[in-house]
């Protein structure tokens, strides 16, 4: 009995923290547990969760992706621009945006694999380049007027935000790929021990390229969602999102050393950050204090995760 409980705590510590926070906020505000508010929270966290899922792939593979915030902004701007300025149909604009995002990720991967740059360095450079390209392309001004077929992705189907449906699809696909395909297994293996994996005959380069391209693609999905939510592509959109995405991934139990991490954990990590922001708002906590609390919870959660994992199961 006790070992089972312990195993659950260890395995699902992120989810327990999420549940604890929700319990707490439901005591503080009677409006917190209302269905509409819970939908709001997932809607508000969907962008972070999707982008963090991409980052999770790179982190599991032993790398990192700092460029995602800028890629979100660039893809949002380019897809909006293709539709508004070039007059392309909405699905084409969105599709080209997704392809573009994956290509930007692939470029990250090429620099990491063939340029032998540290992932931190390569993606830091891409972060600056993609942000600069966004400003050049938009001339520093927002692009709007994509029409309802585009803003659909930021709207609601009945009571359900479309972003949640997109998140569900992303979770299913990325989780299946990571858990049920050889590629997914290789991503873990490369992050666990790159040399051994190479000696085992795995094309390590291709696995890494795949992880970075996937991260770019997820950032692109995030870019479309965000642009649809704001009805406009903002040149400064998603500034600092990369750090939040890394935080969500780490909260979800991934190791920055690589080889560990799960999609559901990352989603829970993103939800923890969403619940914190929403709950603290509903509780009327000063915005200055909110940042202190968010940082504090982050440290506590990661410590808790480490402590529980250190206990022998």
């Amino acid at each position: 009995m006790i070992p089972t409980v312990r195993r659950i705590v260890v395995r699902y510590s992120t989810f327990l923290i999420l549940a604890a926070l929700m319990l707490l906020f439901s005591l503080v505000s009677s409006r917190f547990l209302q269905v509409n508010n819970l939908l709001n929270i997932v809607d508000q966290s969907a962008l972070l969760a999707i982008v963090a899922i991409g980052v999770t792939y790179t982190i599991i593979s032993g790398g990192i992706d700092l460029s995602v915030g800028s890629v979100v902004a660039l893809v949002g701007a380019v897809s909006a621009g293709l539709i508004v300025r070039a007059g392309l149909p909405v699905p084409v604009g969105i599709l080209l945006g997704l392809v573009f995002g994956a290509l930007l990720g692939l470029v990250n991967g090429l620099f990491v694999v063939y340029g032998r740059l540290q992932p931190f360095v390569a993606t830091l450079a891409m972060m600056a380049i993609a942000r600069g390209l966004t400003l050049l392309y938009t001339q520093g001004r927002p692009i709007s007027g994509m029409g309802e077929a585009y803003t659909f992705f930021g709207s609601r189907l009945g009571p359900i935000p479309v972003s949640i449906l997109v998140l569900l699809v992303v979770v299913l696909v990325s989780g299946t790929v990571l858990r049920r395909t050889p590629f997914g297994a290789y991503v873990y293996a490369v992050g666990g021990n790159e040399e051994t994996t190479r000696l085992a005959g795995v094309a390590v380069s291709r696995v890494k390229l795949g992880a970075y391209a996937f991260s770019g693609l997820m950032a692109a999905v995030g870019g479309i969602i965000l642009t649809a939510r704001l009805w406009s592509a903002q040149p400064q959109a998603a500034t600092g999102l990369e750090l939040q995405a890394i935080a969500a991934t780490v909260l979800g139990g991934a190791s920055l050393m690589g080889g560990a991490g799960t999609i559901l954990g990352t989603v829970a990590g993103a939800l923890i950050m969403g619940v914190l922001a929403n709950g603290l708002n509903l509780a009327g906590v000063s915005s200055y204090l909110q940042q202190v609390i968010t940082g504090g919870i982050f440290i506590l959660a990661v410590l808790l995760d480490m402590w529980t994992k250190r206990q022998k199961v």
């Binding site: 508000q44 927002p142 965000l226 998603a238 915005s287 909110q290």
Partner: protein
């Protein structure tokens, strides 16, 4: 296991302690909630950033007036991030506020949030920056074009009617940067003999103002005057010029009249700054919303006067 539990419990205690402490400080959550359902009005104020003294002063003005009128004010901070703004406004709607005062991070990006409030039947007022869509009852702001013109006229007089001037621009695409730049350029372009030798953005930021102006000083041997779209940038430029020993030859004009800039004007380092009255903007925002909620008509544009602060 016991250790894990104790950690969880202490975590909960810490958070709840914070939440309650914060709640009593800022908004008094339970009070806000009761008020939303009956009794005194609750007004939500979404501020673009509380990391800038201007908006902090705006918030303080709003808070003071709200306290005076017996209105509960719930303040959220967008941290200059339109996505966070959308979430914050969603949260205010969820809280059931009676009216929303929005100081948008961006006039386009705020439109869906305004529409969400419209759907929920909550009247929206914009302060300082406008919204490009949705139904807004009233917009309360300074006339930034007039302010830019005011600054240009002063600067041109101060440099003796002709010379070389520099424009430090705000965050590209923001309406404040557009309007102040438009007013400034209107006047300068109509004045023969005044030439803009450099116009660059320093993103409303003091450090960038310093760096950008340092480069401009390097490139331009002769500069007679500088106008910056806000005080943070002009104070950065002033520092750069002082370090280069050229501050005496240049007339500095800023915008916003934040405390540091007013002090610099008093010291004679800064020639002038255009004073918006952020406290007045916040205050008029709250009083306009209250007037409207009491069933009276309000104007759709409520201009807040500007003035020039000189020695």
């Amino acid at each position: 296991m016991r250790r894990t539990l104790s950690i969880l419990v202490s975590l909960l205690l810490v958070v709840s302690g914070f939440a309650f402490a914060g709640g009593s400080q800022e908004a008094g959550e339970s009070a806000a909630q009761e008020a939303a359902e009956s009794g005194p009005m609750v007004i939500g104020l979404s501020v673009s950033t509380l990391n800038n003294p201007f908006f902090v002063t705006l918030r303080d003005g709003a808070q003071e007036t709200a306290d005076g009128l017996g209105v509960e004010l719930v303040v959220v901070d967008s941290q200059d991030d339109p996505a966070r703004e959308a979430s914050n406004i969603q949260d205010l709607i969820q809280q059931g506020v009676d009216a929303l005062l929005i100081n948008p991070t961006d006039s386009d990006a705020v439109v869906p949030s305004v529409q969400r409030a419209n759907q929920a039947g909550i009247p929206v007022f914009t302060v300082d920056r406008g919204a490009n869509g949705g139904e807004v009852v009233a917009h309360i702001a300074s006339d930034n074009v007039a302010g830019g013109e005011m600054a240009a006229n002063y600067l041109i007089d101060a440099i003796g009617g002709s010379g070389k001037v520099v424009e430090l621009q705000g965050i590209p695409g923001t309406s404040a940067a557009r309007d102040r730049g438009e007013g400034f350029n209107n006047v300068v372009n109509d004045t023969s003999g005044v030439e803009i030798v450099a116009a660059q953005t320093a993103n409303f930021n003091r450090t960038e103002g310093l760096n950008v102006f340092q480069n401009i000083l390097q490139a331009e041997p002769e500069i007679d005057g500088v106008f910056a779209h806000n005080d943070e940038m002009i104070l950065g430029a002033l520092q750069a010029a002082e370090a280069a020993g050229r501050a005496d030859q240049i007339v500095f004009v800023g915008f916003d009249a934040v405390d540091d800039a007013v002090a610099a004007v008093e010291d004679g380092r800064l020639a002038a700054t255009v004073a918006q009255q952020p406290s007045e903007i916040g205050s008029l925002g709250v009083s306009t919303a209250v007037t409207y909620l009491e069933g009276q008509d309000v104007d759709s544009y409520i201009p807040v006067p500007l003035s020039l602060v000189t020695q």
